[in-house]
Each structure stands twice: as C-alpha cells, then as structure tokens.
C-alpha cells in the first residue's frame, strides 16, 4: 500500500476505534462535570456491559450466518437491555456509593470509586466463570464474542482498486455510535432536562434555587453515561470479537485520556477527544508499536494536564478542586 493509503487506513481504524472510546469518554466527562468525581469504575462498568451483551447473545442463540432480520432484530433488543443494565447499575452505584459522600473530604469519593472498580472487576471475573456456554471453559481467559457482523470490504465492492479496507463492520460501528452521540448532543442542548443537567454541572446551588432537583439530575447523568458505555461495550464486542474481565482498566484509561484531552466536563470535548485518541492509538500502533501505545497515550495525558489542563474544548476554569 502506498504511504497515503496506509495513512488512510489508520484514519479509518482510528475513527472506528475512536467512536467507541468517545462513547465511554462521555460517561467520564459528564460525571466529572456534574459532581467533580473521576469515576474510576466507569471502565469496569463498560466491561460488565460487554459480559452482559455476550450473555444475552448467548441466551438468544443467535449465531453468525443467521439471516439479517434475525440478527438485527436480536441485536436491537440486546442493545436496549444492555444499555438498561449498565445505566441502571450506574444509577445504583451513584446512589449507594457516591451520594453519601457528597460532603466528605475530597479523597473519599476517589477512593470509593477505586473500591467500586475492584468490585466490578471481580464481578466480571466471576461472571466469566459461570457455567454458561458463551463463557467458555477458562474462567479468566478472554471470551470470544460471536462474529455476527459481516465483514464485507466495501471499497472493493464499489470497484475501487485500493489497499484501504473499509468494511461493513466499520460502518456498523459508526452507524451505532454516531446517532447515539448526536442524540445525546440534542438532548443536552435542546431539552429541558438536558439544559438542567448543564446548569447543575455549572452551579449546583443556583440550579437548586430555580427548582432543579439536583439529586435526580445527577442520577440521570449517571444513567445516560452508563447506558452509553453499555452501547460502546456491545459495539466493541461485535467489532473485536473478544472481551476479557480486565479490559475495563485499559479501556477506561483510554477513554479518560480522551475526556481530558477533549476538555474534561465538555461533552463535545469527549467526542472529539475520543476520535483523537482513537487516531493517535492507530497511528502509534502502526508507526511505533502497539506495545508502546499505552505509554504514548499516557505521555499525551500528562502533557495535556501540564500544559493545557483545560484540554481542547474545556472551560478555562477547568478543574473542580
């Protein structure tokens, strides 16, 4: 492939990966924006979403090769259920673990989040040990996700002679993530509840003073962030065809880096950051080596925090404490 083609391929890979990262990054940024907490457990919630998706698909009996109607039909309700699961779980976590600490010393919520992260990770491990067919035989090994989305090379189908591959799988990822992000953007900017969410992030007391039920708005924030992570998990499973109980940590850090780079607290920032981190990951994988990519991402994270803490689209007042 020519140099330009290689670059184009990385662009495609990066955007695909990046849109999944963006979905998870939105969860981090929304929670930080509204209660100033770095939700360490968010990546592990995403992982549980993937396990839930796998289990549901297993239960449904869907297999590669089943017709389009059966596949899309099943995946539709799997998506809804997974999003409800991760969204609901996130709401419960907020209610029981974080809300009681609203007035505690600043370290407490962060440490609690680490604790929740441990709990969720362990739950993922135990989930993987359940005697379900989809979970395979080895409890802690990566689980294989059925390859339900056909991988048809679109560009060659269209008659273009190029080494760059854009497949139906890529299209599927964009087809799910883009509408979700668009939907979120519209919700947050055009609806009453969305505007109330933004107001609560900016000034919780003033929001309560105009009658906004801050606690409920915060719960909704967790619900939406969690649901988006669940959607991202389903997409990831279907795209990469493998999930593992400790994938939450790495994915979480990628997504968090994306949120910071884009501007922590800014939803458009998280989307932009996600795409950027996806691109940078793809380029780093290709130009340097996949083994070094985590270090590259962290160096970027540190550089952003040191030189431009508000990120690309963030508010100059930035940090919440």
């Amino acid at each position: 492939m020519s140099g330009a083609e290689v670059l184009a391929q990385q662009l495609v890979n990066g955007l695909t990966l990046g849109s999944v990262i963006a979905l998870v990054a939105i969860g981090y940024t929304m929670v930080y924006g509204i209660i100033g907490l770095i939700n360490f457990a968010h990546g592990d919630l995403y992982m549980l979403g993937a396990f839930a998706a796998l289990s549901l698909i297993g239960v449904s009996g869907l297999a590669p090769g089943d017709g389009a109607a059966a596949t899309w039909g099943t995946l539709a309700w799997v998506l809804v259920l997974v999003m409800a699961f991760t969204g609901g779980l996130n709401v419960l976590i907020e209610r029981w673990a974080y809300r009681p600490l609203r007035r505690a010393q600043p370290l407490a919520p962060l440490i609690t989040a680490i604790g929740v992260s441990f709990i969720l990770q362990n739950l993922g491990m135990l989930w993987g040990a359940l005697p379900l067919e989809v979970m395979g035989t080895n409890a802690v090994a990566p689980k294989s996700f059925p390859d339900l989305i056909p991988r048809v090379d679109l560009l060659s189908r269209m008659g273009l002679a190029t080494g760059v591959r854009v497949t139906t799988k890529d299209l599927f990822v964009m087809g799910l993530t883009v509408p979700l992000m668009l939907g979120l953007h519209l919700f947050v900017t055009r609806t009453r509840l969305g505007t109330a969410m933004r107001a609560t992030s900016q000034n919780r007391e003033a929001a309560r003073m105009v009658g906004i039920p801050a606690d409920r708005v915060i719960a909704v924030t967790f619900l939406i962030g969690g649901a988006l992570a669940g959607a991202g998990a389903l997409v990831r499973g279907l795209f990469f065809n493998t999930i593992v109980f400790n994938m939450g940590y790495g994915a979480g850090l990628q997504a968090f880096t994306a949120a910071v780079v884009g501007g922590i607290g800014s939803i458009p920032g998280a989307m932009l950051g996600g795409l950027l981190i996806g691109l940078i990951s793809a380029l780093s994988d290709h130009l340097i080596s996949a083994r070094w990519t985590p270090a590259v991402l962290f160096l970027i994270l540190i550089a952003v925090l040191v030189f431009r803490p508000r990120g690309l689209l963030g508010d100059p007042t930035g940090q919440k404490a």
Binding site: L101, A108, G115, Q121, L126, R291, I302, V306, Q319
Partner: protein, 348 residues
C-alpha cells in the same frame, strides 16, 4: 477529647493495640517455630507491604498528595537491585550496594515525577502520578535489552537464600523476616523523625492549605519533590528486599493493582497514621495470603473439586472484598481503623 496542655502529646487510646502488635511482630518467628506453622516465609510480604504502606502514607497522609502510581517506584528499586546483583548481568555487586542503588533509583524517579506536577494539584496531580505508574511498567516491558522485557530478571541471585525453595527452609526464612522487620523499623524511625521535623511540619501545612503554607514561606514546589522522592526511596528499599524474595522480577508485578492495593492498605489502616498503615498491611495481606488459601483448602475439602471449584477459591474474591472494604470504610469510618490523632480529636 480535652486539648492537651502545651508540650504534652495527647495519649493515644490505641497504644495497647500497637504495643501488642509490635510484640507479635517481634515474637512471631518464635511462635511459628514452636507451633510448627512454617508461615515465616509467607509473612515476609506482609512486612514488605508494611514498608510500602508507611512510605505511601508519608506522601498521601502527611503531605496530602494523592499518589496513584506507587508501584513504579517499587519497580525501580526491584529492577535496580536485580540488575546489579543477578548473574544474568555483568555487575554482580554485593547486596548492600544494590540496596543503596535501589533506594537511590526510587528517590530519583520520585524527584523526576515531581517535575510535571510542580504546578498541579488535587485530581490532576493524582492522574499524572497514575500516568507515570502506567508508563514505567510499559517501558520496563519494552526495553528488552536492558530489562529482559516480559520474561523478567531471573534467576535473581542475592547473597543469602539462593533459590526459591529456600523459603521453606526455616532458618533462612527467619533471617529474612528479621531483616525485613529491621528495615521496617528503620523506615518507621525515619517517619517519626520526619513528623517531628520542620520538613514534616511543612508537609502538613502543605496538605492543609497550600496557599497559606506558601504565604508562610513554605516552598510548595520543593515539598512536591520531597514528598515524591521520599516515598520513592522507601518504595525502592522495599523493591530491593522484594527482588531477592521473588523468583523473577517481572513487569507485570508492578502495575496498577499493586499501587491500588498499597493505597487501600494505607486508607483502610488510617490515612496519616503510620501505625495504621502497618496494621493495614498486616491485616489485609495476612487475610489475603494466609487466611484465604486456608479457607479455600477447607472449602475444597468439604465440597471436593468440580465445575464450581472456581467459586470456592477464596483468592478469587480478593478484589471484591477489598473493594467492599474500601467503599464501606469510606462511608462509615473514613478515618480508617486508626485515624491519626488530630482526626480523633475532631471526630471525638
């Protein structure tokens, strides 16, 4: 609690516990020998984690600086000691030199880590430390020519026990136990001196209110360097000891779970109270390394193996229980098991 008269330290209500704990630590090998428990070798990690916990407590508890990548400094010490002593490398220096180098490596890495965070605080500072804690193991894994990458440094040959099997040899186990205990004592001594010194007070002022501290003449940039270098040095020391204890030094042993675990020990034991840190290490590591396997063996003897054997293995619940402990303690007793004296006065 009534305020102390000037010059008098308030009496610690937990003093009897601490004295009992100290006695238990010192006498344990004797008890182990008498009761033929053969646990001495397994207990050394408890002491190592105690050293790490006291070191981290200085940064997070005394200085109020949240350090999320502590394992990196542990790794620095372990790798430094490993490289300088192992037969896989040309150096093969004596243990004392290697230990000094390990402490130096930890301190140096700590000082370097302070550079990016000179002007950062709170959450952002913590995230940078997390990032450093991630970059180090990745670098160690990838710089194969120097660190032997994924396969680690092995065999690790240090004067003293030459091979892993020696740990079941009681005499050697006891030697290493007392060595580790002595080093813990050294670290505690340094901690106590620090707390009473000007530097320690500057650290506390920094923790309470950075702006006010700086107005009183505290160099807040220097404090960051001091905090990270000091805890780095302590971790380096622990690294040197651990290097001889493990069969191989692998990058995977120095990743986030270790950092998180040490942080949990410190928090659960009592943030800001080094005694709490030691207790945290004793309780949690013992539960994890000694109680859990025993429970597992007992459960398996009842039920036998089978498709549910995974669920009977208590070490598989380790993080669940850990996490629960953190969540519950933060909720109900945020000061930890042994909150530092000032907090005791406030909580009353």
């Amino acid at each position: 609690m009534t305020p102390a008269r000037t010059g008098e330290r308030p009496r610690d209500p937990h003093a009897p516990f601490h004295r009992a704990g100290l006695a238990a630590l010192v006498l344990f090998p004797a008890a182990d020998h008498l009761l033929d428990l053969r646990l001495v070798g397994d207990v050394v990690p408890v002491l190592l984690f105690a050293i790490l916990a006291v070191g981290l407590n200085a940064t997070v508890g005394l200085g109020g600086l949240l350090q999320l990548g502590y394992a990196a400094y542990f790794a620095a010490g372990a790798y430094a000691a490993g490289i300088l002593t192992s037969v896989a490398y040309p150096f093969q220096l004596p243990l004392e030199v290697a230990t000094a180098a390990a402490v130096g490596a930890g301190a140096l890495l700590g000082a370097l880590s302070a550079l990016p965070v000179l002007r950062l605080k709170g959450d952002y500072l913590a995230i940078v430390t997390l990032g450093i804690g991630e970059i180090v193991p990745v670098t160690l894994r990838n710089l194969e020519p120097i660190t032997k990458g994924e396969f680690g440094i092995s065999p690790v040959d240090l004067p003293g026990p030459r091979a892993w099997e020696d740990w079941t040899n009681t005499t050697h186990g006891v030697l290493w136990y007392y060595l580790a205990l002595a080093l813990l004592g050294l670290v505690v001594y340094c901690q106590r001196r620090l707390e009473r010194s000007r530097i320690g007070r500057a650290w506390e002022a920094f923790r309470e209110d950075e702006l006010a501290a700086s107005a009183c003449g505290v160099d807040t940039a220097a404090v960051r360097v001091q905090l990270l270098a000091y805890s780095g040095a302590v971790a380096g020391l622990a690294g040197a000891v651990s290097a001889s204890y493990v069969p191989a030094i692998l990058p995977s042993q120095y990743e986030f779970p270790i950092s998180a675990m040490v942080l949990s020990l410190v928090v659960l034991g009592g943030l800001g109270n080094w005694r709490g840190a030691v207790w945290g290490a004793i309780l949690l590591v013992s539960l994890d390394r000694i109680l859990a396997p025993s429970l597992t063996r007992w459960a398996q003897s009842l039920v036998g193996s089978g498709s549910y054997s995974f669920f009977l293995e208590f070490s598989n619940y380790r993080f669940l229980l850990f996490g629960l402990a953190l969540v519950l303690v933060m909720r109900w007793r945020p000061g930890g098991l042994f909150p530092p004296r000032a907090a005791q006065e406030r909580v009353g």
